[in-house]
């Protein structure tokens, strides 16, 4: 998990500066940046794919094939073309979502991703929800009573979140809440008995089971997701509460807060309606960034909880040298991360009246 502790208030004026470009320029710039960054992502995965010591041809034909078969397959895979031509082919395929077949599952990688990604989204969304609903009020109270015991507690909660290895905390949580206390269900998304009872529509198990009226499946899914979601929620909370505190302290030092007090408004109104409203725009970008980080951080959590998401998919493919699956998964997670990251920039322009 690499929640970025450097993204503090100092980093935000720069965003504000960029936001000053105006809204129309903002959308055009956003699309351009998105395109360039995604292109960069394709370049990097292509380079990674080329330096792999595994011979992709051997992986297909096996080491007993004749030289002629080897050459034929090599040509079929386009590996005899010049590098730049190979890249062009790779780029076109990546854009159309063709990442080849997974050696491990024998399915096209894109289909595997369609199966696995919703599980990750479900987990990260719930985690962000927990982190935001608890983290924002905690940060607000810490800022309002800065220096108090509560502030110290919030600081420690945040520091622990930044310092503890997520996979280890996950293991310890499993040990305590599943093995010893038996409060929650164990690894996986569902008990085996409930498998295949729900037809995937959105792929989000909680949504699908509710829509199809399968309440017992829903509750079983809840008992499985609650622990990993709480864990991700804690990491999200550590980051969000810290940023909320810093942003709000920054706002509380502004003159308009004094104005609001001169008007005789209650302290609650001064804080929640005036100061927090001003912090809300950068705060929203913080939440989006945290969501992106949770999507990415799923790699470790999913491994610990045997959660059938994209993170598990990437790591199990990695251990089996299934490069098509690894690169496809990386591209999709990367694209989601990049898009969210840039959307958080765009939100600045959309929501701050100064940039409309």
């Amino acid at each position: 998990m690499s929640l970025d502790p450097g993204l503090t208030v100092e980093a935000l004026p720069e965003r504000r500066g960029r936001a000053a470009l105006g809204f129309a320029g903002g959308v055009a710039g956003f699309l351009l940046t998105l395109a360039i960054t995604l292109f960069g992502l394709v370049v990097v995965t292509f380079v990674i794919g080329r330096v792999v010591p595994i011979d992709p041809v051997l992986a297909v034909v096996g080491d007993r094939a004749s030289a002629a078969t080897y050459q034929r397959v090599r040509a079929e895979m386009g590996l005899d073309l010049p590098l730049i031509e190979q890249f062009r082919v790779y780029l076109v395929k990546a854009v159309t979502g063709d990442f080849g077949r997974s050696v491990l599952t024998t399915n096209p990688v894109i289909e595997d991703i369609r199966t696995y990604f919703p599980a990750t989204i479900e987990l990260a969304t719930l985690g962000t929800l927990i982190g935001t609903l608890i983290g924002v009020p905690l940060g607000v109270f810490a800022a309002v009573r800065s220096g108090s015991v509560l502030d110290q507690i919030v600081r420690i909660v945040g520091l622990v979140g930044y310092s503890v290895p997520i996979f280890w905390l996950g293991l310890m949580a499993l040990l305590l809440f599943y093995a010893k206390l038996d409060w929650v269900a164990g690894p996986g998304r569902l008990d085996i008995a409930y498998d295949y009872l729900v037809t995937p529509v959105t792929g989000l198990l909680l949504v699908d089971s509710l829509m199809q009226g399968q309440l017992d499946v829903f509750w079983n899914a809840i008992s499985h997701i609650v622990l990993p979601a709480a864990l991700l929620g804690y990491f999200s909370l550590a980051y969000i509460s810290r940023m909320t505190r810093a942003l709000l302290l920054n706002e509380l030092a502004q003159e308009y807060v004094v104005t609001a007090r001169i008007k005789g408004l209650s302290e609650a109104r001064v804080i929640w309606r005036h100061a927090l409203r001003n912090a809300a725009v950068p705060l929203l970008t913080v939440v989006v960034l945290s969501y992106a980080t949770l999507l990415e951080g799923s790699v470790l959590t999913e491994t610990v909880f045997s959660w059938p998401g994209i993170g598990s998919y990437i790591t199990s493919s990695l251990q089996n040298a299934d490069m098509n699956a690894v690169l496809g998964g990386t591209l999709v997670v990367g694209a989601a991360f990049v898009t969210l990251n840039l959307v958080s920039d765009l939100l600045y322009r959309l929501l701050d009246p100064r940039t409309r």
Binding site: Y256, I262, K263, G264, L265, S266, H274, R354
Partner: protein, 277 residues
């Protein structure tokens, strides 16, 4: 008759780790429905005096006074609830720079209406009508349009008139104006002052005008207090600046630019550490 404001031996202290800073060191004055100017350089404690009267001294500042009373109400003994209900309804303040003192993410209309409804139980429609009338009073043309604007869309002079409208809409009796024109363009300062002047006169308010500009204060106010290092060093009737005795005040007057005569070398204010004692 009780005076509007009584201040006796007011102190404002900031206990910091490096030692206590005394921003205001025992000042006393009374104010009727008149115009009082407080003049001093930055750091002389004039702004902290204004904030202490309103009860808005920033943490960790402490305020003490033998007496601090508004219309006979003992402010030092008043609970925070009472002080808050006084703030904005009966006593108010206009601050220096509308670019910072207006909330950037709320429209002008929202901010003025909020100010009104914080103290008056009225419908949204009535509040809006009052806000429009108030904007008209500060001579904003097309108040309908201005209500929908965000602060960054206003010019400095317009912003300050909006600020005045927002602070006077509840009909307060005491207005503290802390450098109300020094952040504005020279060309609009006169206009903002005239509007302020007219409103104070029409409504019979008490006004404390805080500024570093001795000449402006003298032309606007009935009396002038000169502050230096947290103390009042001199009190003058505004027509009698030439009778100033304190060397600091005389120095300030000496520094005013004159049209006639050569002022080379430019006079420099010399300070005597004894003044601060």
């Amino acid at each position: 008759m009780t005076p509007l404001l009584e201040v006796e031996d007011l102190h404002v202290r900031f206990p910091l780790t490096e030692g206590t800073i005394e921003a205001v060191r025992g000042i006393s004055f009374t104010l009727g429905r008149e115009r009082l100017g407080i003049v001093g350089e930055s750091g002389s404690g004039k702004s902290q005096t204004g904030r202490a009267i309103l009860g808005l001294t920033a943490r960790p500042g402490e305020v003490t006074a033998k007496r601090l009373a508004f219309d006979g109400i003992d402010l030092m003994a008043a609970p925070e609830r009472l002080r808050r209900s006084l703030r904005g309804s009966r006593m108010t303040m206009v601050m220096q720079d509308p670019r910072y003192s207006l909330n950037p993410v709320m429209t002008v209309g929202q901010q003025i209406i909020e100010s009104y409804r914080a103290h008056k139980r009225v419908s949204g429609r009535d509040a809006r009508r009052a806000a429009l009338a108030m904007l008209d009073e500060v001579r904003i043309t097309a108040p309908d349009r201005v209500m929908a604007l965000y602060p960054h869309e206003l010019s400095g002079g317009m912003g300050q008139r909006v600020m005045i409208a927002m602070m006077l809409i509840t009909g307060p009796e005491l207005l503290i104006a802390d450098e109300p024109t020094s952040a504005l363009d020279v060309t609009v300062r006169g206009e903002v002052l005239r509007i302020l002047d007219q409103l104070v006169a029409e409504r019979g308010m008490g006004l404390i005008l805080i500024s570093h500009d001795l000449e402006m204060v003298a032309s606007f106010c009935d009396r002038v207090l000169v502050m230096y290092a947290g103390k009042i060093v001199e009190e003058l009737a505004s027509g009698a600046l030439d009778q100033a005795r304190h060397p600091y005040t005389r120095g300030l007057i000496g520094c005013l630019p004159k049209l006639a005569g050569d002022s080379h070398p430019l006079p420099v204010l010399t300070r005597d550490p004894a003044w601060a004692r």
